[in-house]
Amino acid sequence: MNIEEIRKDFPLLQNRKIAYLDNGATTQKPTKVINAIKEFYEKYNANPHRGAYALSMEATELYEDTRTKVAEFINAKHREEIIFSKNATESLNLIAYSYGMENLKKDDEVVISIMEHHSNLVPWQKVTKVTGSKLNYMYINDEFELSDEEIENKITDRTKIVGIAHVSNVLGTINNVKKIIKYAHKKGAVVIIDASQSIPHMKIDVQDLDADFLVFSGHKMLAPLGVGVLYGKRELLNNMTPFLMGGDMIEYVYEQETTFAPLPNKFEAGTQNVGGVIGLGSAIDYINELGYDKIQKMENEVLGYAKQELSKLNFLELYLTPNDDNHSSVISFNIKGVHPHDVASILDAEGVCVRSGNHCAQPLMRYLEIDSTCRASFYFYNSKEDVDKLINALNKAYNIFKKYVK
């Protein structure tokens, strides 16, 4: 399939004549996914796990089949290791509260990287404060990467939890999570992988990585907004206390005491976003049918072209590693001396959607000594024409500002 055919799968790209380059925030949805959700509500909508009637059973089956599909997608050993949540943020909070709060003791250490999204950072501030443990950071080098020395210096015998983004949502740096996991395990720590920015682009195998926990949001990988995944090793999840309490996560409820349901229900209190989960299943089908090889091939072509063209603009400051093998799909940049919000407004007027701001990564911005950046983030349906539109719009923005920039 060529790019034009692929773009036809995405109604929004047909309806809006824009270069959509904010895929790191959320991706567009293919007709297949939209139809799967529609079909669910038109033919199968009922509350899973609750009714003794056929319709509810069918809804249960669809919901639970999707759990199996997700487990296969990331090669989890057991299907009950997949917990549905509302997004990666909720998954990370679940781990912070149900694992971190219960297991961290005074003077233990939690280690995260300076490039973490606030969702893998703020919960750890809270948990380390309450438990009297310490929150330490692994910092990036001049190439916007984590060096082996930095990893080995920061992960110590006192480290109990390591949290790390697989791919940075600001820099696009691919962290060598397999290596980090191996080293952290040697030190006796559990590792949480935030795969939100990686799973749309690359095959994830939790057993190969030996990840203890791994989280992602569906909406950044073609699925609808409002559904996310928590993967955890079964023995870890079994030993954790529930995060949210309520319906469907219980076994017996007495006036003063409750026993909890086994995995996965223990962590899925209340009616879930079943339509969203069905949509996620369909998104996985789409990705599997297209294949990660094809996705990467298409992306690399456009990403390589974008890097080449952006690096020709000498009024730009780029924040990305020079090592292509360690970089994925996200390019942050600034027009020197111009605030990114002004750049984004001018790009918007030219039909180019990029994100501008601190990207929920204020500590990283402070570390890089900048306030904010513009960020273009790509997916397989982006074309070279999208890149050309971006470059033209950037030239236009620069021309508006150049005579005023000091």
Binding site: V338, H339, A349, D371, I400, F401, K406
Partner: protein, 155 residues
């Protein structure tokens, strides 16, 4: 969207990139910081009141062209005005940006600040244009509540 040259025009660009109002005010008797956490825009307004009159005003900080220019042009517009006049103009400016005030005669009192009229067509930038005006409004309200022109709030 409107032609961007309406927004990024000469006046706004000059004020945003090279403002003569961006400086320290050594004899200020009021100071207030304003920020938009989403954008990271941050300004500090310094104000010198002489009785009921805004004798001088200056700002420092950083942000996008629209927030910086809006701050600088606000200072030009309100310098020399009484507190009551300033409040009235602030109200008109906020009304213009939120598309609540459209009366041409009413808008005339904004002087150069009328240049931001088209920001009302850019919902994502409304906050940037309003930052300084809201900050000054807060500052005047706080001053009224304490009834003093000598608040030391520059810690």
């Amino acid at each position: 969207m409107e032609d961007l040259s309406d927004v990024y025009n000469e006046l706004i660009m000059e004020h945003s990139m090279n403002s003569y109002n961006k400086k320290k005010l050594p004899d200020a008797n009021l100071s207030e910081m304003g920020h938009n956490p989403n954008c990271g825009d941050e300004i500090t307004l310094e104000l010198k009141l002489n009785g009921n009159v805004i004798e001088d005003m200056a700002f420092s900080g950083h942000g996008c062209a629209i927030s910086q220019a809006s701050t600088s042009i606000m200072i030009d517009t309100l310098k020399g005005k009484t507190i009551d006049e300033a409040r009235d103009i602030i109200k008109t400016f906020i009304g213009m940006i939120k598309r609540e005030t459209k009366d041409e005669a009413e808008l005339e009192k904004l002087e150069d600040a009328i240049a931001f009229k088209n920001v009302s067509n850019m919902p994502a930038r409304v906050k940037c244009a309003l930052l300084a005006w809201h900050t000054l409004e807060d500052m005047l309200n706080k001053n009224q509540n304490t009834g003093s022109t000598n608040i030391d709030c520059c810690h």
